[in-house]
Amino acid sequence: MISLIGFSSLFLSLVSNLVVIITFKFSKTLTINKVFYSALYSGTFFIVLSFLSLVWAFISSDFSNFTVFQNSHSSKPLLYKITGTWGNHEGSMLLWLMIMCFCNMFFSFNKILEINLKKLTIFFQSLLFILFCLFVITTSNPFLVNSLNVNEGLGLNPILQDPALAIHPPVLYIGYIGYSLVLSLAIAGLILDKIDLLWIKATKTWALFCWSMLTGGIALGSYWAYYELGWGGWWFWDPVENLSLMPWIAGLALVHSLTIVHQEQLLKQWVVFLSILCFSLSIIGTFLIRSGILTSVHSFATDPSRGIFILILFLVITGFSFIIFILKSKESSGRLNLLFINKTSALIINNIVMLIACFTVLLGTIYPIIIEVLTDKRISVGAPYYNSVVLPILLPGFLLMSIAPALSWQTNKLNKAKYFFYTLVFVSIFSLFITYLTNFYIWGFIGTTLGLWIIAASLLSIFNNYKASNKISLHNNALFAHIGIGIVILGITFSSVFQIESNHSIKINETINIGKYSLKLNKIEIVEKSNYQELIGNFNLYKQGKLLSSIKPGQRYYHVPKTITTEAGIYHNWLQDFYLIINKQKENIWSIKMYQNPLVSFIWIGALFMIISGIIGMIKK
C-alpha cells in the first residue's frame, strides 16, 4: 500500500515536472504562468510524499517493499531505520530527486532575478529532474514489490548503524546535487545572454550554499572514516572520497572567481565554465561509483544497466551544456588588470592551482580505467600518487592565500607589507623550533609554517581592517575561511607527522605508563548483540594520576557473514586524540596499540570555520 503511494507520487512528480516543461513555452499568459508555478510546487510536493512513503516503509519494516527488505531489519533502532532510507542506492537516488526539486522550488522564490532568466532556469532544472527521475523509475525503483514472502529483512550491517554515517549522505547531497541549480542557472544565463550582476549574485548565493554543505558532508564522512576504518586515518584517497572532493575544489574555484567577476565584470566565461563544471563532476562521480567499475570502500550493489544510463545522462547533460557554452558564451570586453602581484593575479593563480589539483584527482581516479582499456593491465592509483602530486600543486595556493585578501585590485602594493614579512619570519622560526624539539621531519616544518602563517597573516589582515574601519565587519568572512584552512593544515600536519604510535602489553588490573600518561586495564567484557559478539577492553586513561577518561576498544565477531572487525576506542580531546586498539592475548597478557594523534580535532574545527564562513558569505550584503 505504502509502496503504491510512493510510486504514484514519484510518477506524479515526473508528470508535474513535464507540465513545467510544456507550459514554459506559453507561460507569458497569466493563467499558463500560474500552471507553470503550480506544477513546480506540486512536483516538489509529490516527490516529498514519495520520499516520506519510503521512510515510512522503512520505519514500519514493510518487507513487501524490496528495498526495505534488502536494507532493513525489524530489530534496527528507529533512528537507523529512518536513516537506512538513504543508506542504499535506490533510497539515496530518491533523496537526490527530492533535493533537485527543493532547489528548484527555493530558487523560484528569488525576487531579484529577471523573470525570463528565472523561468528558463526552472525549465532546465525541471528537465534535469525528469532525466534523473526516468533513471530512477527504470533502473533504481525504490518501490519494487518483494516477490518473496518474508517476515524479516536482510539489512543488519552494523557498520551502517552509525550517527555520522547516517547524516553524512543528506548533508553531502544537498551540496553535491545543489550544483545542478548552478548549472541550470548558467545555461539559462548563456542562452538569454543575461550573465549580469544579478546573475552573479544569484550564482554566488547558491555556490556558497552548495560549497558549505559539501564541506560539511565531506567533513562528516572523514570523521566517520577516522573512527571506523583503518588506524586513525581520515582520508584515504578512496574513489568515493575523490569524487566528493572534485566538486568541492571546483566549487571553491567558483566562489573565488565570482569575487573577481563581481568586482571587475570580467572573466564571465570562466565563471560560467566553472558553474557547468561543478555539476558535471557530480554526475561523473555518481557514474563512477554507482556503475561499480571502481573498487571502493563505498561501493553500491552494481548493475550494468545503471552504469550505462548514468553514463548517457553524463554525456547528454555535460555535452549539451558545453555545446551551449561554445555557441553562446561571449568574450568580455575590457582587459584584466594583471600585476605582480595584485588580487586579480592572486585569484587567477588560485584558479590555476585549484583546477589542476581537481583535474589531477580526476585523472588519478580514472587512470586505471584508461590503462585497462588501452593495455589490458590493471594498475592502482592511490594515496602515494595523490600525496606526491596534488599537495605540491596546492602549495603555491596555500602560500598565497595568506596575503591575497589584503592585496589590492589596482596596484601591486601590499598595505603594511612589512608586518606580514615579520609575521612570516617569526612563524618560520617558531615552526623550526617546534620541529627541532620533536621529530625534525620536513613535512612537519612545512605544514606547521604554512598553517601558522595562514592563520597569523589572516588575523593580521582582520586587525588591519579593524584599524581602518573601526569595526569587525562581516566582510572579513573570507579571512575567517582562510583561518579555517590554516587550522585544518595544522591539524593534518600534527596528527600525521607528530603522531606517536606505541605498542604495549598489559594484564588485567595493571597500569602501564605511556609518556606522561598512564593506562589501566580494568576488565575485559564480553557483550552479546543480535548480530555479533564483542570483546571489549575497559581501560582508564590517567594524566599524572588524574582520570581523563575511560576508553573501550573492542573486537567484534559477526555471525553473518563471519567476520572479525576491530573497533578502536577513542578519547577525544581538543589537543590530542587517544586512539586505542586491542589486539590479542597470550596467557592473560593483552597486546594493545596506542596512537596519540595531536590536534586531530583541528581538522573538524577548521571545517566548521569554513562552513560558517560560507554561510556568512551567503547572508551578508
Binding site: L229, N337, S380
Partner: protein
C-alpha cells in the same frame, strides 16, 4: 616597501631557513617496524574493498605483512620487496603507480600543465605591466 621587494625578501628568508634546516637535519634510520608500516601503506589488500595492507585486518594482509617482515629481516629493500609482489600479483597490488612508459603521463602531466599555465600567466602579467 614595494611588494616585489617584499617577495624577494620572503624568498631569501625561506632559502636561508631551509639551509639552516637541512644543515642540522638528522638523517633518521627507520626501524624495521617503521619500514614495514611504510611498505604496507603502499600495498593493496587484494581481498578487501580498496584498503591498504596496513589498514586491513584480513588474512591476506596478515600474510603479506609476514612476507614483508621476513624480507626486511633478510635486508631486502623496499624496491625489491615491492617488485617481488608485483611480479606475482601484478601492478594492481601497489597503490603507487610504477614509473614506466604507461604511467609517465600520469606523473608528469599535472606538473607540465601547471608549469605551462604559470608561464602563460607570467607573460600576460608582463604584457599588462608594459602597457
Amino acid at each position: 616597501m614595494k611588494l616585489c621587494q617584499l617577495l624577494n625578501r620572503i624568498a631569501f628568508a625561506f632559502l636561508y631557513l631551509n639551509i639552516l634546516f637541512f644543515s642540522t637535519l638528522v638523517l633518521g634510520n627507520n626501524t624495521i617496524n617503521e619500514e614495514l608500516k611504510e611498505i604496507a601503506k603502499k600495498l593493496r589488500c587484494m581481498t578487501c574493498q580498496n584498503q591498504t595492507i596496513y589498514d586491513s585486518d584480513a588474512d591476506f594482509s596478515k600474510d603479506i605483512k609476514k612476507i614483508i617482515l621476513q624480507k626486511l629481516l633478510k635486508n631486502q629493500n623496499e624496491k625489491e620487496i615491492i617488485d617481488f609482489l608485483v611480479n606475482r600479483y601484478g601492478e594492481y597490488i601497489v597503490f603507487e603507480p610504477q614509473m614506466n612508459n604507461r604511467n609517465i603521463f600520469l606523473w608528469l602531466f599535472p606538473f607540465i600543465v601547471c608549469s605551462l599555465s604559470f608561464a602563460y600567466l607570467y607573460f600576460r602579467i608582463k604584457k599588462n605591466q608594459s602597457n
